[in-house]
Subunit: 361 residues, 3 copies
């Protein structure tokens, strides 16, 4: 297994790890609870000193061949471990417990507080003492950087922008002028917060020639707490007012969020999703990869949209839609399955017509 | 309403604003034409001292509840304003007039001429006296930066590139070696002009193994006047010759323009559009979000392509196509509407066959 | 023809060029084999002193009007050139020979070895003597940069990353902590290697509220020899273990490669392709533009996927699939062709039903 050489991996006794995770260790396996675990790995990759997990009982069989030292399972998978070559930790949510184990074992490099000499700070930028401003970063005039926040090399925070506490701005990420980030926001490399919205008014120039007149985009972006934004993703600033990404929402790579969109809390936007302007997403909306949402639509709480779908109308709470243009998911599924029958169906109808009307038509 | 705190908003008397826009003020409302307006806002957000607009008479009803001080409307909406809590400005193109009002009220931060000490200029770079080269920018040898042009922090202009007058290159945007920009071009953050085109020739290496041999991309990109290119969008340089983006064309975020494409003037490319190599777009072509255009196609003047469509053939002047593969828009619309009937249709044909032939088939 | 003014174009005698390419010159045309050729160009653009090529005999007619001095053709196109205004070079693979001619004629700017004073190197970064670290680059602690490798301005190599020999990292490209690149890898501008994978476990916070708990992404990315990655493309690091891009694979712009994907050698991924997590691509797989691959799928050796397709299941060796959801290519083609008949088909079935059952249904 390869893991990043730059993480400062720790080690815990299995009993300590169990306590940290609120998991119940099952004693009696060949691996004592005093044994050390120093890293997490997938079921396939795990070896000596590794913790892994099984999501639920359907994957129980996979336990057999594992070379992990500890496996996190749920109660339905609790078993007599006498003599087995791994310890079991029982936890109601093995996937989440594994995530927390990875977190505990891989605290990540500590970012030194302070400002690297190659960073450029404009007048009036306010940097918290515990913030870390890395090499080649830019912080504009009047911008605020909160405590514990790290700007990784080359990150850009524009004039008047406000970054909360404990954020991580990835290498070469951009927060444009006046945009606001809450606490614990993570921006992956190359993401752009606050690019101009795509707004033009059809007009004519002084010579009477047609032109697309730029509508100045004077609004901002507000990113709430615990949001993560993927590499290369873009959140446009509002024309007026603000574009909002709600608390705890997670956005994957290369996603486009149009100006004046308002995304609710706890949404999941997979890679390469595109939201046109003024989209409104409720709480916990899930959009599959490469989905497109037309402008000014409301995607309500808990709605789900299948990958590559094109949504041209509002989606009701809890509904799942798929297809382009999108249909209720089950309707789309049946139609998509039948699609390949179409050429055959044409032939069959021609045969029927011949029999019935004595001709093709 | 939240607007960017870093814009240096001005204020105008309503009568002054009307004059600037070439609009006719209707006197007599409760708001005198000497009152000050200092910002623009959408109809919902507007409050005291704000100007807003109504696109056309269909939205007339929305006027009733507004708290704006001034509303720009077209002649069809001119009305007796006696006693109303807002003034009316009459203009034949309210949306364009509003854009110009936003422009007048928000001149944006003045970029100081000169070169920031942290910027790196190679030998022979020619920077106009009135150009502004911000922190951490790079300008390669022999590159030219025109008067009034601003490179925002971290922008990159490669060797031998030429940037015209009054351009704005956003934070961390890239213009690669030898590429040419006209006047008043705007690049949003993270856009890339002049990346290598995607060209390989199937070949074998000295050991007889297959390989994809890179075709050197020695051409350039030429961006004409008044073009805007969105965040994260990429315009590839030509293999030989040049890739062209025509005058006044506007390109949204995360758009891919393949090598040797020639895009005409006044086109609109929405977010996440992809043009394969050697695409030729005429004048005023409009491509919806996530559209894909196969290589070597001609999309003629005034053609429109619906969102998410996949175009595999030329499109005639003024035509609108939709779907993947794309069909004439109306044909596609009817077929797309009928799509969900397909499973039912299969059943119905089976019933007919049973009746007619005594069996399913 | 416009070519980049910054390339240092050379000139060769036609006979010399032929020798370099392993091509056989046909003597006797009006252009002597001692004449100089200094640049390559497309058939349309080529002029005096230019070499061009014709892919195969289907394009033979295009020869007639050319103004090139030399044309590379295959044996089937060998012809009596007496009196013709261009020389012919015979080569079994004209496209590859042309690529090599471009390479020979355009060696590109030599990157000076050494570290630009504005670059930032952390402690313990190991830079080969012949490597070139341009302005405003960042190389983290413990990172290794191999001989002959060039980091163009603003490139970022994170702590513990390893870059092989003769690589080119484009302006503002990012290789995150701990990621590994082989030899002769090219990253275009703004590409990101090693962003965090998109992994969250559903969980509840201490207040009992639902949350998406981030699964730390502690794995890495390994890019093998001779890979090229396009502008703005993102390759996510693995949750644990590694994401792999195999030898000689070429990836176009704005492509998303999800965490733990393993891409085989010699694949071609066109623009805006998206691979969900844990995709496995075999050898020589070809994915058209805007294709989406769902998670945990196996796309076997030599498989091809048509542009804009959405793949929801494994693809067998050598198969070609198209559509969303994807079908065998021929099945999809026939169905896609029949799609526009659907509204008419509905009418015809209604007519039949009326005749047969005396009513619409």
């Amino acid at each position: 297994m390869t893991t990043s050489p730059v993480r400062d991996a720790r080690a815990f006794k299995i009993s300590e790890l169990a306590e940290r995770l609120g998991a119940s260790p099952l004693a009696g396996s060949a691996v004592g609870l005093d044994s050390k675990v120093f890293q997490g790995a997938s079921l396939d990759e795990a070896g000596d000193g590794h913790v892994t997990f099984i999501r639920d009982a359907r994957h129980k069989k996979a336990l057999e061949g594992t070379r992990a030292s500890v496996v996190i399972v749920d109660e339905a998978m609790a078993a007599d471990v006498a003599g087995r070559p791994y310890a079991l930790l029982i936890h109601p949510n093995p996937a989440a417990a594994f995530a927390r184990a990875l977190e505990a074992l891989n605290p990540g490099p500590a970012m030194p507080p302070g400002v690297h000499p190659s960073a450029v700070l404009e007048e009036g930028a306010k940097i918290a003492d515990s913030a870390s401003i890395s090499a080649l970063c830019f912080v504009g005039s009047g911008a605020r950087i909160g405590p514990g926040t790290a700007l990784l090399p080359g990150a850009h925070v524009g004039a008047g922008a406000g970054i909360g506490a404990d954020c991580v701005l990835g290498p070469r990420s951009v927060v444009a002028d006046g945009c606001i980030l809450g606490d614990r926001v993570r921006l992956q490399s190359g993401s752009v917060i606050g690019s101009d919205g795509f707004g033009y008014a059809p007009d004519t120039d002084p010579a009477g020639e047609p032109m697309h007149r730029k509508v100045p985009q004077i609004g901002t972006v507000r990113i709430e707490d615990d949001v993560e934004i993927g590499a290369g993703s873009c959140v446009d600033r509002a024309t007026t007012g603000e574009t909002v990404v709600g608390r705890g929402t997670k956005i994957d790579n290369l996603v486009q969020v149009g100006h004046n969109s308002v995304i609710g809390p706890l949404c999941i936007l997979c890679g390469q999703v595109g939201l046109a302007g003024s989209s409104r997403l409720g709480r916990g909306v899930m959009l599959g990869g490469q989905v497109g949402i037309a402008g000014h639509l409301k995607i309500s709480d808990g709605a789900k949209v299948g990958a590559q779908s094109g949504v041209g109308g509002d989606v009701a709470p809890g509904d799942m839609v798929s297809g382009s243009p999108a249909l209720p998911h089950r309707v789309w599924m049946r139609a998509a399955l039948a699609f390949k029958e179409l050429p055959d169906l044409l032939k069959r109808v021609r045969r029927i017509e011949k029999k019935l009307f004595g001709s093709d038509r």
